[in-house]
Amino acid sequence: MVQFVVDVLIRAVDLALIAIGLSSVYSLIRFPNVALVQYATTGALLALGLQMAGLPLVVAAIVACALVGIIAVVLNVVVFERLLRAGSAIAMIGSLALSMVFSAIFLVTAGPRPKRFELEINPPLRFLGARLTEHQLISVGISVLAIAVFALILFRTDLGRCMRATATNSVLASATGIDTRKVTNTVVFLSGVMAGLGGIGLSVKGEMSAQLGLDMLLPVFAAAIVGGLGNALGAAVGAVVIAAAETMVTNVNFGPLFGETVLFIPAAYATAASFLLLVVVLLIKPYGLFVAEVKRG
């Protein structure tokens, strides 16, 4: 059981970082930016490149996340602000197209073979019978810290008040003297940073490939939608729900339930399980689990 919780946590934090970014941006500009998952790959590749250039991983990760944040703002100003004038559906299609462009660039620059960060290999740690590596522990710790900092910004700072006011009613927010464009771009920057951090976290715990972002697309969207698209912290809860569903499929031995010694569900069903869960949640709560906060944050 403890191992299950640990595995869910390891998976959930990275999903949560990207899903929080997706939901936060959605709350302000009302379109789900598909390209956000590619910001995760961008962060991982930039961090890897900087590490290969001689920077320590921590420094490489900080620089990479900042760069991803800047890329996200530039794309928002140059591409998405213009597309949004034609409507959110057009902006979403544009973000999908941009996502494909990212994929092509990743394939050309990084190649099709998976890559790994240069990390020391240590024996796994044991915690109440569960096993996890030192890198997993550090990565989870940093991700949880990042989510906590984001929550503090959202609920305890003037920027957070402006973010919530703009998400609730941008016209009224402008009428109270809030520079809604600046607030939006700040949130876009933060979402880029968090997506980059999520990508780095995923890659530190496993392999990194040009497909990383696209592999994350469905679970990240599922997490954001289950949590109530537009609700940042709901997305974090959604990430835990989706991670639990995926982990249940891939890690839980269902043998004892059916009189068998070993019975695992094929790993190929992991995504299907998360989407089955998504459908069930949406049937019960069509706007996600935390819709009230979405509308009135």
Binding site: N169, V171, L172, S174, A175, T176, G177, T180
Partner: protein, 251 residues
């Protein structure tokens, strides 16, 4: 105070909704913009506020061209207060937080003093400071949105259909509050209204728009008395509204 000079405006690639509008409003007067649905009166107010940028012409405030000045800059420089038509309060925030959000860029001492003044002016809000805005009546919400706009002591106040969704009684109280603001502060107030008779009752001057152009302009009292104007643009006889004291006095 406000000068709209030959302004053309529209949305996206669509046609011009405003087709060469001229309008003036001075300090200490209420100017109301009237007209049938789709005539462009809300677009004109949004153009004056800065939510819609003119395609041609200019909007001036205090002699400066502010056509390209963002809304939040005008608010922060105490030039303008704006009350949107609907959803004009943050429902989950308290009355106090709604008002203070409009003053977050002001020095704390000035902000607190101004807040205290507003609470004295609007006792109905003072008794509900910690209550969520969603718990207020329609009229109280409108007064709250006025208080939020007024906390920065703007020189111009723009109101988009302040009577929308209100009962006749509440409508009368809100208009009385608007007139009281003009009389007390000498502020320049521009309102867009559907309820023409009620608006003309407190306005000093009015502009009646038709198909994106100014069809009639003049003193509110003259327009009210003009049978042709009433027939064409105001929909016949005025409704009978019970006379009541101003909102602040009621509370």
């Amino acid at each position: 105070m406000i000068s709209v000079n030959n302004v053309r405006a529209g949305y996206g690639d669509g046609p011009d909704i405003l087709q060469g509008i001229n309008l003036n409003a001075a300090g200490g007067e209420i100017v109301t913009i009237l007209g049938p649905n789709g005539c462009g009166k809300s677009t004109l107010l949004k153009c004056i506020a800065g939510f819609v940028r003119p395609r041609g012409g200019a909007v001036e405030m205090e002699g400066c061209d502010v056509s390209a000045v963002p809304v939040h800059d005008k608010i922060r420089h105490h030039l303008m207060g704006f009350v949107p038509q609907t959803d004009n309060v943050f429902s989950t925030l308290s009355v106090a937080d709604n008002i203070m959000l409009g003053a977050r860029y002001m020095p704390a001492a000035e902000r607190n003093a101004r807040y205290a003044e507003l609470m004295a002016q609007y006792p109905s809000l003072a008794s509900k400071q910690e209550r969520k805005a969603s718990a207020l009546s329609g009229g109280e919400r409108q007064i709250l949105s006025l208080a939020r706009a007024l906390i920065s002591k703007p020189r111009v106040l723009l109101l988009d259909e302040p009577s929308a969704g209100l009962s006749p009684m509440m409508m009368h109280e809100v208009f009385a509050a608007i007139a009281e603001i003009r009389d007390r502060t000498g502020m320049c107030i521009v309102t867009v209204e559907q309820n023409a008779f009620e608006a003309l009752g407190v306005a000093d001057r009015a502009y009646v728009l038709s198909l994106g152009k100014v069809a009639i302009e003049g003193r509110a009292a003259d327009l009210l008395a003009d049978p042709a104007m009433r027939h064409l643009y105001l929909g016949g006889k005025p409704p009978v509204v019970e006379s009541r004291p101003p909102f602040a006095a009621v509370n």
